[in-house]
C-alpha cells in the first residue's frame, strides 16, 4: 500500500570516499525531521555504511587523541537516524543488498539494518511517495 508519508532512497557509494554519502544522510535526516518516513536500500558499496566494525582512530596529523578526534562512523549515523524516526513516530527502514554484503564480507551490521534484495527496493519504491536514487559516479 502506498504511504504518502514516506520517501525511498537508494544509496550505492561506499563510505569514506566521496561527498554523496554525507549529502544522502543529510537528506534522510531532513526527511525524518519533517515527520516523513525514510526507507533506504543500500546497494553495492553502500552496504559497508552499516558495518559495526568501523573503528574511530586518533589522528596525529590533526594532533588529536582518539576521544578528541571523535571520528565519524556511518554505522552510528544509521542508528542515529533510526532513533530520530522512532522519536518522530515515522517509518525507518535500512535494507542492505544481501548479495552485496556477501561479496564484501560486510555482514556485521547495526540492528537498524536488515538483509534484503532488489525486490525490497521495488516494494519501497511502490509504497513510497517518491524515490531518490543516488548512484556512484
Amino acid at each position: 500500500m502506498k504511504d504518502p508519508k514516506s520517501l525511498a532512497f537508494l544509496l550505492m557509494d561506499a563510505p569514506f570516499e566521496q561527498a554523496r554519502t554525507a549529502t544522502a544522510f543529510r537528506l534522510i535526516d531532513a526527511t525524518l525531521r519533517r515527520s516523513v518516513g525514510a526507507r533506504v536500500f543500500a546497494y553495492e558499496g553502500a552496504v559497508s555504511l552499516a558495518v559495526t566494525r568501523q573503528k574511530p582512530h586518533a589522528n596525529a596529523i590533526h594532533g588529536r587523541t582518539l576521544e578528541e578526534e571523535a571520528h565519524p562512523r556511518p554505522h552510528a549515523w544509521i542508528t542515529a537516524l533510526a532513533d530520530l524516526a522512532r522519536e518522530k513516530g515515522v517509518a525507518f527502514e535500512w535494507v542492505n543488498c544481501g548479495l552485496c554484503v556477501d561479496e564484501r564480507g560486510s555482514d556485521e551490521a547495526v540492528p537498524a539494518a536488515r538483509r534484503g534484495s532488489p525486490a525490497d527496493f521495488w516494494k519501497m519504491a511502490q509504497e513510497s511517495a517518491n524515490t531518490l536514487v543516488i548512484p556512484t559516479r
Binding site: P15, T21, A22, I28, A70, P74, W77, T79, L84
Partner: protein, 126 residues
C-alpha cells in the same frame, strides 16, 4: 625528490574524514620527510578560501564535533614549509578573488603550469 600533488576533486568525503584526504596524505608524507607541495585545480581551488565553514553537521542526535577545517589545514601545510598554489583561471571561473584566499597561497596562470611541473621529480594527480 620533490613531489607535486595536484588536487582537482574537492570535498570528497571531507565530512566523514574531517579533512581532505589528499591534504592529510601530503601532511603525512611531509612528516615522513617528503618534499611535497600542492597545486589546487578545478573545484579544489575552493579549498583555499579562508572563510569556508563546515560546522553544523547533525544527523539525528549525532553532532559532528570536529568538522573539516580545510583552509586551516592548508595554512598548516604552508606554515610547515610546503608550497601551495591555485590555478588562476579556475579561481576566476568561480568568482573567487585573491583577497579571499589563505595567506601565501600562490595564484598561478594555467600557462605557467608547465614551468611549475618542470620543478618537480614526481607529479601525482589525484
Amino acid at each position: 625528490m620533490r613531489v607535486l600533488q595536484i588536487i582537482a576533486s574537492a570535498y570528497r568525503a571531507t565530512l566523514e574524514e574531517q579533512d581532505d584526504t589528499v591534504i592529510w596524505f601530503t601532511r603525512a608524507l611531509r612528516a615522513a620527510g617528503a618534499r611535497a607541495d600542492v597545486l589546487l585545480q578545478g573545484s579544489a581551488v575552493n579549498y583555499a578560501v579562508k572563510t569556508q565553514d563546515a560546522r553544523g553537521l547533525r544527523l539525528g542526535a549525532w553532532e559532528q564535533t570536529h568538522p573539516p577545517a580545510i583552509a586551516e589545514e592548508l595554512a598548516a601545510l604552508i606554515a610547515g614549509g610546503a608550497r601551495v598554489a591555485a590555478v588562476k583561471e579556475d579561481l576566476e571561473d568561480r568568482g573567487i578573488a585573491s583577497r579571499q584566499l589563505v595567506a601565501e597561497v600562490e595564484v598561478l596562470g594555467r600557462r605557467s603550469l608547465a614551468g611549475l611541473f618542470g620543478q618537480y621529480d614526481r607529479i601525482w594527480q589525484w
